[in-house]
Symmetry: D2
Subunit: 331 residues, 4 copies
């Protein structure tokens, strides 16, 4: 049984990763680490996860004796520890943005100087529905952002069909997407009975979505605007697609049904999906609608931002990397 560790397990996505691996029938979770919460047991911080392990301060010499790792560090900090782990031969799924953008210059434009550019070519973008085969052989998998996961899955069939001329993505997320840090913005009284946009007009998930749409054939500049909602887990992307003018008339729903017929974690629904229907699952639920008045396609995609948008997708990737059934421990 492969051994595993979660580095940065005190945040929401790291803690859920730890829980999924702790309960996983085919991984042996050996270490969980954290910085300021080191010394605490995870089931003290997150009683509902019921992981009776203690968080330790990260020590490469002590903790790199595992086959697999999920790294849940902040952007910028992750790249270095991923590089260290790779040197020790650990196969890594990284939850940060550090290895998602294949072009280091784009990363540095939207984030910061990249501390491990040399690893970029090796990293595989961890969206199994797009890169399943590459993930199987990868040693470094860059787990997608939560918004990109929902957006790319929602748009991929149209992008592949060459139909996208332009797209506006209006995204809505629960408060867990903002992370565990206690701030004015995450205070209950701020979020409750409220909704507002943030990251306007340049949210960092924009280039990640554009990169993958381009890889699918839609080389467009998107407008992407996230909003914070008064709910804890769940994310909805509402995608407004202007079609390429020359395109012939198609049955969009048929394209989606075909595209995702064999995907265990994508559902094509007839009506606009609610995030409740995917809560605490690895599923992305999508519906597509044609607006005959304007000729636009409207696509909705719902995920759980902590699950398919982060931790359970990381486990899905680990399953692929280690030759396990893809849904093991997350179905």
């Amino acid at each position: 049984m492969p051994s595993a560790a979660v580095f940065g397990a005190a945040g929401y996505t790291g803690a859920l990763s730890a829980k999924l691996l702790y309960d996983h029938p085919a991984f042996d979770l050996r270490w969980i680490t954290a910085r300021s919460d080191a010394g605490q047991r995870l089931d003290h911080l997150y009683p509902h996860h019921r992981v009776p392990l203690a968080l330790e301060e990260f020590d490469l010499d002590r903790h790199a004796d595992v086959d697999a790792a999920i790294v849940a560090y902040p952007h910028g900090a992750a790249a270095e520890v991923v590089a260290d782990l790779r040197e020790r031969g650990v196969r890594v799924v990284d939850l940060s943005a550090d290895f998602r953008l294949r072009d280091g210059a784009v990363y540095e434009e939207w984030y910061r100087p990249h501390p491990a550019l040399e690893l970029l070519p090796e990293a595989v973008y961890g969206l199994p529905e797009l890169y399943r085969e590459q993930i199987r052989g990868a040693d470094v998998v860059a787990n997608p952002g939560c918004y990109p996961t929902a957006a790319i899955l929602s748009l991929a069939p149209l992008a592949r069909a060459g139909m996208i001329a332009d797209v506006v993505i209006d995204a809505k997320s629960g408060a867990s997407g903002a992370g565990r840090a206690a701030t004015d913005a995450t205070h209950f009284v701020t979020v409750d009975e409220n909704v507002n946009a943030y990251g306007v007009p340049r949210h960092r998930h924009t280039p990640e979505i554009e990169q993958e749409l381009a890889a699918l054939g839609a080389d467009v500049r998107i407008t992407f605007t996230p909003h914070l909602l008064p709910l804890d887990q769940g994310e909805l992307v509402s995608c407004y697609v202007t079609l390429n003018p020359g395109g012939e008339r198609v049955d969009a729903r048929a394209i989606y049904l075909e595209a995702y017929a064999d995907e265990p974690f994508v559902e094509v629904a007839e009506t606009p999906p609610g995030v409740r229907s995917v809560r605490e699952t690895n599923i992305c639920r999508i519906s597509v609608h044609e607006d005959e008045r304007t000729g636009r396609m409207i696509v909705f995609g719902a995920i759980d931002n902590l699950w398919k948008g982060a931790a359970s997708q990381a486990v899905q990737n680990l399953n692929l990397m280690f030759g396990l059934p893809e849904g093991e421990g997350i179905s």
Copy 2:
């Protein structure tokens, strides 16, 4: 002091209208009516409104002895009672859609056969920021829909400047927008921890928004998609505007500040407004942002759907119609 009545006061917007008129220093609220709740006191149905009046079954002979009325009937049912009240000389603000669309054919395409087409030319669209002078002299005011109120105020300055080539409006509303009827869709367990689109792709507020944008100079077909959020009161429209290509570069924020400099109930904010900031007010709070990467303008508008989106705007209209200070009873 002008006397007033609210017909259809058992629903959310009618009840709030009754509360605002009951507390109003310059109106004498004489009658409140309802169908299935007739006989009950309003402060039994809505303790927080504290209106100690009994709901009566509507009786034209008995209840038309007032100077002013707010009609809060369903679409289709409102037109007839408005016509009856007009015959008796009552000046009316109608909360339904029945007199909002100036073209009866458009109404009948989106709603149903119109029972009082002859009144359409007389009705004034009750958005004071656009039609203040006409409202003063009107006998029938068609109170705008909640989504159109927020959308039109958010887009008017750009429309007037001739800048709008195309617009996508992604709207988010609290559950009170769905009305008081208890259904699967309004059950707490359905709405809580959820978000989903509805009315896709043809929500009935679409032609109302298009009518007013056209009147302002933007003759466009819009994409309008509302979403239901887990909060009670509040509505946010996120408007994604593709600019007319020939247009010169402008400072959008300056245009908005100038357009609304003298408006008592429109705020131009620097950051995306949250609906909490307008809860239980007659205010629409707007911010405008340029997305330099795509050239789009992004405009956010927040209102309270029951207040500026319905009842307090109705009172604002009544104030204008009766020569009172515009903000009396709603500031």
Copy 3:
């Protein structure tokens, strides 16, 4: 593999029972029935449960060919169908109150005339932590009410120790406890940002709690008051226990730790439990505190009202009845 059916699967607890049995590795869910929703697929009503079976109208001849049934009918209606199923040899867990009270006269005082009194002696109260052995051999198990489950587990150790002279139970429940019926009381706008008591002063769960406390040695009249909270799933009982005066000083926490040391689904916590920590689990999480100023014991017990308070406890009972591992399908 024993075959199973859920009768009354369109409500919240019936639907969850169906989901748990559908996913259960050792039961074959053959039938799900409903009255007004017959003909619909359950995954249409409850997308998140992902049970692709159609609800049928109940037909004893057709549906009684199973080994096990969960009956989720309203009080009063359940007894008859349970009696019918017993005649056909089906072993039943009944989610209603019809077989919980061992004294038919008490049932009829709090509920209504009982249609199957003759079955009462046969029924076992389905709280495994109290009646595990009897449940194994039972053919009719009366699944406890949600509040009694939390209250009895919270008080049992003190009751057994003869310490309880008097008890006030202040209970708080999420809105799913009110069931799926869409009413004014379950409308989102009613529940949101609100809390209020209901069923004052005679909630029907009172005699059920008193019956079991008496069986444990505490023959007291309790005060039990439930409150409705703005959350969907979760129930907390706050129990204020006046101790018997003659009692010697004890370490309450030690008593609880010992009482529940071997219970797989009861946790004894150091701090007051939140309902989040037991959401979507079969676990009851309890803490006990001594108030030295007043000499009272304060005990908190948290469950998920739909899980341990209904459906997962029903499956726990079925597991016992059919000789399966107690936690199969619910851990």
Copy 4:
């Protein structure tokens, strides 16, 4: 027109106090101060309050030139500034606990060493329904805690009638009661879909409630346990009263109706009040119920913790102190 200041206006209760005084027709709000937010405008921190004043760092020489002050400092820190303000002749309502307990020794047992014991005799407990006349002449008014406000008003009629032998108070509060500090405990994800007790078994509001019940004739040790609910504003106390055995049978509701017949801000309801019915009001809404089975009285009291539980009650006190109509600015 008396001039006023709010010291400590960056927290929830201080900010609301500032808003109420800014909008007040008979006070001139001259200064608002804060420590870490000094320099910011209040309408930036709290857009919905719409107070366009800048927060300043407190400077006794500069800011003590007012007739009235509301002090919203933390416990312990308030006493000193109140003493300083008194030296300059400012009449003060203090929102902290520093002057609520008439016995300095009790204060020091539950809080900390008291820095201004000499002022205690001068301070009046600011519950107008109990101490209206004393408040009129007071120079230092100790504004009651939110829980004590609701609890004392709920129990006063029974206490005065000599009926209380024992009482358990189970209190429920929205998250604004925890204050503006961003912590793990106030993070949206912690509070949402949750409920738990805190401050068990010794919450600091206990002696304050006991002091006032004793003053009314009920010299009892109470059990008081607060719970945190997923809502922003609102507080409900559920009071379980064991009656004095010798007492004669009375009509409790009649006692309450009589006790509060002339109180503008207390409502006696027939059914258990919800906190929605008092949101953003200065009203305490109470219902009383007899449990015939146990002989207990059950009393519910609902307030808005930020309004009647803090800021609007402070203004009510100021109105009394300055000879203004008691409800000015808060009705």
